[in-house]
């Protein structure tokens, strides 16, 4: 006979889970009681939001399901932001919440919240467990939905009496999804059509999102892109999927994307989308998004099609299957050679002329000219600082960016070919994500250098997780880009609200190095003036080296100019071609 709590742990192990993140409380106490001696590793964060973000970090870097545990009521509601984040960014996540005793449900009992109802629109699937008998099947089904198709968050709410009750347990359940009469999936026929469209096109481009990473199809995607040899760009979640050195790669697209990527997207007559949602930060004004293009959308989740603009040809299916099928068909048609001798399909004269000077476009795209995106130069030291950091990172490092200006600078400067090497809260844009997510990443990859880049606003949203970092001795390298403002909001206030800096001033920030010290974590300060010299002074370089190579957790506070802005910028509601490059 096993208690319900023990059955939960057995079922988690059967799903391959050996690490969970959580925070105990009344209704979930039986599960914590069963943890002792179960062999399941539990990481105590200092807030439930820290737990769910840590589970997300673990899931994002491994591709496995992350598990977060919380108690009923406030414990469960504190998970909500992380659940929404996982939904937006397709992160496989299972949240297990304690619930008040079954007879008390619906009575507004102490710490009772309808977490099932609260999270209904944020989850891919959820259950309030009603009997101990159904518990194993519920867990099996929950994990199935979390990791299948487009991954997403699942909530399993378990009343405390079910966690305490006992029954015979013969093993974890298996879940077989019900067949639907007409599940849409690309058959082999799509390849002819895509190839035919490609042959009609004069200015084809490719846009890469997170889908190829989630499908484990990065290698197949790179082979296809090498063969296509057409201008290619990535969303923030697509960073790392395309090899940086590829001659056709134009960098990040969207609101803070490169001029080259946004202009190519605006001018194209055929857009191949590989696993991207095409949200408003990528498209700008949807009515003027790729206005001349036919869109072929490779996507696993039909619900993502036609969200902002109808696509001309949906290719529904796992990119691990559809990309190789397309590539194989493509190889059957005659190809032309470029001057570099690379296989390429024919491109029209107009496109060829427009992209005649690839080196110039790539210089902008890849940041050889930082000034291009910062005419006043106020952000130069910060971009230089990020360049200095990123260039010193060992291979297979992971960068976790929080949300705000530093996030976009980091995305613009990121230069790794590691598919899961850049992690951020992209869709939801949840400040406070980075530090706890870095905890999950470092636990998943104990040998990797994990660099957490935050702003001064976001870092304070989950600053309590410094205690988790210290307790576990995680050698996370934490950077705060400190401009003493809620920088991105301030930037918008400057540009669109007549410099009315309402409630964005953080000039009374605490001394972050002293705070780190209180958590027994060593801290450093670096002034932006250290980044003026080119190359940077050897002592500055040495400091950065020492910071990155330390076997301990370290915090580095970089003082950023308060009015530094992120450019290029596509103002909200503008077309991608209407990028802004300076303040006035």
């Amino acid at each position: 006979m096993l208690r319900g709590a023990e059955i939960v742990l057995q079922c988690l192990r059967a799903e391959g889970v050996d690490l969970v993140f959580g925070y105990p409380g009344g209704a979930i106490m039986p599960l914590y009681d069963a943890l002792e001696g179960s062999g399941m590793r539990h990481v105590l964060t200092r807030h439930e939001q820290g737990a769910v973000f840590a589970a997300e970090g673990y899931a994002r870097v491994t591709g496995k399901v992350g598990v977060a545990i919380a108690t009923s009521g406030p414990g469960a509601t504190n998970l909500v932001t992380g659940i929404a984040d996982a939904k937006m960014d397709s992160v496989p996540l299972v949240c297990i919440t304690g619930q008040v005793r079954s007879p008390l449900i619906g009575t507004d009992a102490f710490q009772e919240t309808d977490v099932f109802g609260v999270t209904l629109s944020l989850t891919k699937w959820s259950r309030l467990v009603r009997t101990l008998d159904e518990l194993p099947a519920v867990i099996a089904e929950g994990f199935h939905w979390a990791r299948s198709g487009r991954p997403g968050p699942v909530v399993i709410d378990i009343p405390t009496d079910i966690l305490k009750a006992t029954r015979e347990f013969s093993g974890a359940a298996k879940f077989t999804p019900h067949a639907r009469p007409a599940d849409a999936k690309a058959d082999g026929g799509f390849t002819d059509t895509v190839v035919a469209l490609l042959q009609q096109s004069q200015r084809p481009v490719a846009l890469v999102g997170a889908g190829a990473k989630l499908s484990g199809a990065v290698s197949e995607l790179r082979q296809l892109l090498d063969y296509l040899n057409i201008p290619t760009f990535a969303t923030v979640h697509g960073l790392g999927a395309v090899a940086q050195e590829s001659p056709y790669y134009l960098g990040m697209v969207g609101m803070h994307g490169t001029r080259a990527a946004n202009m190519a997207l605006h001018e194209t007559d055929m857009l191949l989308v590989f696993g991207a949602r095409l949200d408003d930060r990528v498209t700008g004004d949807p009515g003027r998004f790729a206005p001349h293009a036919r869109i072929v959308h490779f996507e696993i989740d039909p619900a993502q099609l036609d969200r902002v603009r109808p696509c001309d040809l949906p290719v529904i299916g796992d990119l691990a299957e559809t990309i190789p099928a397309f590539h194989a068909e493509l190889r059957k048609i005659p190809i032309h050679s470029t001057s570099s001798g690379q296989a390429s399909r024919k491109t029209g004269e107009t496109w060829g002329t427009q992209f005649s000077d690839w080196s110039e476009w790539r210089a902008v795209a890849c940041g050889a000219e930082r000034r291009e995106s910062d005419p006043r130069g106020l952000a130069q030291p910060t971009m230089r600082f990020l360049d200095e950091l990123f260039s010193r990172l060992p291979q297979d490092s992971v960068v976790i960016a929080d949300v705000g200006q530093h996030q976009m600078w980091a995305a613009q400067r990121y230069r790794s070919n590691s598919p899961r090497g850049f992690i951020t809260s992209g869709g939801l844009g949840a400040m406070g994500f980075a530090l706890p997510a870095a905890v999950g990443v470092q636990l998943a990859k104990p040998e990797a250098c994990v660099l957490c880049v935050s702003g001064d606003g976001g870092f304070q949203m989950n600053i309590q997780e410094l205690a988790t970092v210290h307790r576990l001795g995680l050698p996370i390298k934490m950077v705060i880009v400190d401009n003493k403002y809620l920088g991105m909001v301030r930037q918008w206030q400057q540009l669109f609200y007549q410099r009315n800096y309402a409630e964005t001033d953080l000039s009374d920030n605490p001394d972050f190095v002293e705070i780190a010290k209180a958590y027994k974590i060593h801290g450093w300060h670096l002034n932006e003036n250290t980044m003026v010299e080119d190359p940077v002074a050897s002592e500055t370089g040495n400091l950065i080296e020492k910071f990155l190579r330390s076997p301990q957790p370290e915090l580095l506070v970089f003082d950023c100019h308060p009015e530094a802005n992120v450019f290029p910028m596509v103002p909200a509601g503008a077309a991608l071609s209407e990028m802004v490059f300076e303040e006035e």
Binding site: R180, P181, G189, T193, D301, P302, D306, P310, P314, V315
Partner: protein, 103 residues
């Protein structure tokens, strides 16, 4: 007025998820009928929607784990809308309908 016919398994929250797809868009549900059929459950929803919303709703409903099938009737194309927002449902991938993209 658009009518949507949704077959689903009556598991926890499935009907709520279906209704939520409308409420999150601020749509007024003119009529909702739901009940058991011989094999599963069937809901009929009526509301005023644009053709763009029709496509989005149908795809979002079909993405719900226990939804089996989604059909819509009474679709009216918006004047001047050259592109179709309302793809077939269940959503069809390239293959058979793909030729239309070449037209």
């Amino acid at each position: 007025m658009q009518a949507f016919h949704i077959r689903y398994r009556n598991t926890q929250g499935t009907l709520m998820r279906i209704l939520n797809a409308a409420s999150r868009r601020g749509l007024d549900l003119t009529s909702v009928q739901a009940g058991a059929t011989e094999q599963d459950y069937h809901a009929t929803l009526q509301m005023e929607v644009t053709s763009k919303q029709t496509g989005q709703l149908c795809r979002e409903w079909y993405a719900i784990a226990d939804v089996i099938d989604v059909r819509s009737t009474g679709l009216t194309r918006e004047h001047g809308d050259q592109r179709s927002w309302a793809s077939p449902h269940p959503p069809a991938s390239a293959g058979v309908p793909a030729q239309s993209a070449l037209a």
